[in-house]
Symmetry: D3
Subunit: 315 residues, 6 copies
């Protein structure tokens, strides 16, 4: 059973909109090696887990739970990169294209026009070439050794593609999220590699994939300095055997030590998103808005009543 | 950010394996109107939410979080229906097909051979006709009224299809999960219909869709008696404005009252799944199993150490 | 602009339900060489036609218009083959699965469970293996010679596959529709082959594809005797240059003559389809049914009023 | 059975070519909520209709027949936007790229190169991101209430996306077709909403979706003034019960009245499309062209003969 | 540049037809981890290879070339399993379904009716659930370490799935081909694992995946005894650096030695396939057959003339 | 069984990188009518061939084998067009994006960002709109006449699309490969048309499709002068009956004669591809590179030993 807090696993850094950077980042969300796949692959593997090797199940599941938060983070990052891009200052209740003007004529020549036609300047479950995500991306072979090896390839590919995307734009909104995901993909490579190490594999010096000098990627270096690339969180509200495997010397054989934690040390506010009248989003006209406002004003009283009525605490 | 407990939102009832019932139930998991879609659609809508109408965002998101637990439940139900189906009693470390026998020759004529070739007698992210789930199933229009109406259609279709699947087998494993999902789809119809009611719609007597006499579905009736079909949970570890909308008379106009809660009143143990040597699952041979056993024995000590080292409590 | 009459281009012959025959026939509807493709391919080619060779455009378009009626015919044939299959005698307003019985447990082991879960014992836009129809099936190359040759291959493949389906069941509902489509695919082969003949090709004895002795398919022979396989209809309410090409000796070089007509000499009643309570179809409960009945009773008066109000005749 | 006249349901207004506007408009043709889907969805629903509620079947079918004419209109609009874009003045029988020049080198950087490689500067059955149309877009649930609600969502989404596309270009060819489709999508929303109103729903003020001030879209306002957004045509050559439902006060509760007609009051000439030698379209060389010319000259005589021979009038 | 001999890399053993076994084996041909993918993945990786590490390129390419021969072998095995299944003894030139009989009514209930409708009792480029093969299965990351690791996962998954298929039928046609592919997948695992070993990885005892006692699969054991699972062939008509890597102790650390060869020591005759009149295959009627026979009789003279005329020896 | 030489069937001519030309050329590789389809279609047809008409099987197969070499050629041509495009001069072992610079920020706005994110500036198995290749493109009907006609349409479409691509860029790398493929597609049209001619068809003057004056395409004219468009190679290391059919007057009825050969008269060196550090390709860091260098230095000794040990000559 799953729970949520309305906070992000990493901050979204403000910068100018950049719709083609947003489109490149879609690969990290809805691509064959993106966060939607990692999330689904690890959840399916842990739900379908056979036998008694609980520490391995917990390790796979802990990464899977984290990936839901990555989907949340990357979705919001893409949307922010698309938001008002390029800038359009619509007034609330002003009609988009009032007077027959074409405020969105930039939209028809962006990398993926669906960002403007299908979504309202927001992320979609597709890759950077516009292909929808597919269930066949999920590999849950039901064989533990193979699943771990497949997961390692998945994390290595995810990290490789994000290293390439990092270079495609110096936009800070893009880079801060991508750098965080590069660091976490490193940690996840370590998780699956360490599990295989317990079964006898020695990885030599090939990890993490790809090899690069982190000091040249300042945002990544900062996260390494904070240890983000060698921690794993279990996100379980009760207990987890993650630490049975994820501890001791890193399988990268680079002298670092792995560290298992319940959750990240910090979480970050969700920046929200403004209305976009040119997209009819949320699209409430004055009459409907009045109804919503009345309801929202009413909320505090109601919330209190509901809490009392429920007679039951949040976990 | 997301969290987990290793418990289920509804119990999985034991019965005989039934692989064609498992295949029918795949529609409820990976079908165009299944739980993978509801989960992704509501999460995308809530992540991409524009404007200040927080109660509506919280309502959509609360259903989205619940759907992850539905994916967990239905995946495990399908796997149990497939597990050893029809029964094959392999000994651990006995070679599957020892002596050239063909213990899985039932597999080649089951509804979806992928359950046995690609998965290890386990659920897959596909529908009942074997088509992989697609990202294009996710509708996040970015227009609040339209998103709510789309969600109502989605829940109505999900419920219609599950009512049809209910009739396809009297297997108790199938029926207990399907009945629970029918009851919850009713609650979700109420959630989106109520939100539209706050914007001025009166639904008359058309809800819930499809219309049927619950007393003829005993498992559903029991859940209705317990109020499961008129509750909604927010699953937020901090707070939620769900109850601002989800309260008062039901939009089905049937005299019942809606009730918002933080989470279900009870949760249920995960039954786990045995090894399947004929599927090489988990596929550890004696040598690798010895390594795993050593690690698992080691776990208590390690777990304690890790807890101490982390110096940090689970939320 | 398009018009309709609620009559069929060929009669649907009554016989027992046969769901696997229905599934085979899906290939003729939603398969890569089925009627949905022929319809869309010829409409796209005629809408996108370049240049002044109007007789060729009219010939392509006339076949395209006919294919919409084939989609209508084959859809209704499939649905009739699925209708109550195997027989389930539900009473109106009796709850499906009343008392927990499982009236549809045959459904989970039919060739495509979607016929029962997604559709209500009715045709779907998919092929015989359950794959959804795709826009990429449509070939509109924009080169007249190539489009004609592609169309000939399409008709030959459609006919070949229907000849194979004919042999898969002796069900009369299946065979009468399939035989009609075989005869019409022959006529369409002649249409495209004749157009190429006007450009200088001589087809020798290879047409129609595949070669077979029609006298062994009695339903086909009857249609040949009636000349159905050498007629083409233009279905245009004004005029058409179809007959400029479609006339004279058949390109099959078999001594027959082609004949262009405005429309088939006869049309046939639509048999309609009964309610299926086990599918919640149409799913009106007594209360909603009363509203519908009131409306339907009201219809004659209304229809007269509307006619008067419109002050305008149907074409 | 279906018929055709070679006239358009709305005029195509001349303006400069605009290939990226053409690509955006593809969403309205081959997108998940485009005209190919509405056409197929309503035809399938009406072909598969169960029970006796004929007015509802006729209402759904009437919209379905109209959508075929929308596919015709939007296809020809896209092709006109692509035609010679940017302008290339090839002479007939002049070799494209004569002397090794590259007259189409603009093509490789257009939004969808398939418009130039696969089609001959013509519409394709794909969406604005280049994804082929899919049969799974068609929803025919077989439950009347649900089908009507699904259709309402479909029309609302179609209208929302077209309102966004309208803003993407001030090209008159684009805007006149899009404005017409916006007005018709409004009428179709009214059709399905009214049908649900007869079953007891009151829509308040949420229709049509999205809400906007039509006076700011001059082309749409002109159509509203002509009543195009509150008419529905049945296109049946015999009779229809459409008017039983589609009459009286609009379900938008805006004081307007619905009006059922047999067909639109006017139809418009098809502009045709010129040859494009750079696309080898139609691609007849002088020798083949001579054959075609001979045939076309022959046509009047032949047409007369054929008419006499057929001895049978067009309906 | 590629060459061919009309011989097979392994013999096809005769046994009864078994269409559901044929369908299971489709996974090994057109599945996500089947031979079409391995062939395309390794060819793309070798064609796109960057840098100077020629032995690694040659190793990848040698496996890729072999996989074309595997596609040939598995295609012919599937077709043989489908051939006349269940037995139908049509006479040449006898019309299928003569007299209205239905000789193929078994076909409509086979696992994939496409084997009988689309193919003529022959293999298709699809998987065991009927999904067409997709280009997105091909992984060519352009990073050597990652490509090698991905290839290892691919070979391990291919072998796991074939071990499961082996158990699904005791049919000798199926088992002999599957056993050969299991042995070769082992060799290919060794190839990629050895390449990673040269970069510093020690695989311990996890290879090959899955672990099983070969002596229980007699057909596999025979191939192991012959050394088939530790050989690799380069299939290059000139030279290859494969042996630079593929030599010495096996990375399975089981005491065996790897052996690089130019090609397999033996090749095997292609059994051919008989006519199937019920499938209209090859579908020549007596008239066309006479033309073909005349041509074939003529062949020896012609072949000699051609050889003389070409004045050029086969390589 | 298949063999290879590391040489190309046509030279790759050097010119500047041109990523949008590379993307257009993807249609010729992974498009619905590209070389991956021709290769797979002809191989499947020849593997599944029924009956005794060996010359026809050999003709189809000979083209199929050639197409593998076309896949090789076009893949390498696309990769060269993408290589360092636009030019980026990374030093080996220099970190891509060192110092936070964005050397690949051109990449995010290229036609298909996958060329830079998923591949390392290299060809992918997709079409020019980014859609992955699909198995359903392969047509193997199992009816000889139909297969030949389908193949003729395929070759005509391939040639038409390449003629359009030729005009999209004057880049010499693109044009030399495209011109070669146009000439070979002509030869393949002749092959299938001639086979149909032996069955009685007379093609008049419609071939090859499309019609154009080759003298205006200088690269094509040069190949015609060399006879490339009227030769066919069988690529069989033993023997072939290709020449039984492919001989005598061309079915284009243009006065030329067909010529069957064992293989092309010349083959060409593979240009190889340099390292791309910005893509982490091959991605060996100094430590791993040292291991590779040691191995490569070792190769000559090893190669000799291996040759001796194998005791077996390459064919």
């Amino acid at each position: 059973m799953f729970y949520h807090v309305r906070e992000l696993i990493n901050p979204i850094v403000a910068d100018e909109p950049d719709p083609s950077a947003a489109n490149a980042l879609q690969e990290g969300l809805g691509g064959q090696f993106g966060e939607m796949r990692t999330m689904m692959q690890y959840l399916f593997q842990s739900f379908n887990f056979r036998g008694n090797a609980a520490p391995y199940r917990d390790l796979i599941q802990s990464v899977g739970i984290e990936e839901i938060s990555h989907v949340e983070l990357i979705t919001k990052t893409i949307s922010q990169l698309l938001d008002g891009s390029p800038r359009y200052q619509g007034d609330k209740f002003a009609t988009p294209g009032a007077g027959g003007e074409a405020p969105m004529d930039m939209a028809k020549e962006q990398m993926n026009p669906h960002h403007f036609i299908v979504g309202a300047q927001a992320a979609l479950p597709v890759d950077a070439a516009g292909n929808p995500w597919q269930g066949s991306y999920v590999h849950a072979h039901g064989n533990l050794v193979l699943d771990l090896l497949d997961n390692l390839v998945l994390e290595a590919t995810g990290r490789l593609q994000k290293c390439r995307i990092y270079q495609m734009s110096s936009n800070k909104t893009l880079r801060s999220t991508v750098a965080f995901l590069i660091a976490r993909d490193s940690a996840h490579q370590m998780a699956f590699a360490k599990a295989l190490e317990t079964l006898g594999v020695n990885w030599g010096k090939i990890l993490p994939i790809p090899a690069f000098e982190a000091s040249d990627y300042p945002e990544v270096q900062a996260l390494i300095d904070a240890g983000i690339n060698r921690q794993q969180y279990h996100f379980n509200l009760e207990s987890s055997q993650l630490a049975t495997i994820f501890q001791g010397a890193s399988p990268a054989n680079d002298g670092t030590e792995l560290e298992a934690l319940a959750e990240p040390e910090q979480s970050y506010p969700d920046p929200g998103a403004p209305e976009r009248p040119e997209e009819f989003s949320p699209g409430l006209d004055p009459e409907l808005q009045a109804l919503v406002d009345a309801l929202t004003d009413y909320k505090e009283t109601t919330a209190k009543k509901a809490a009392k009525k429920n007679g039951k605490k949040t976990r």
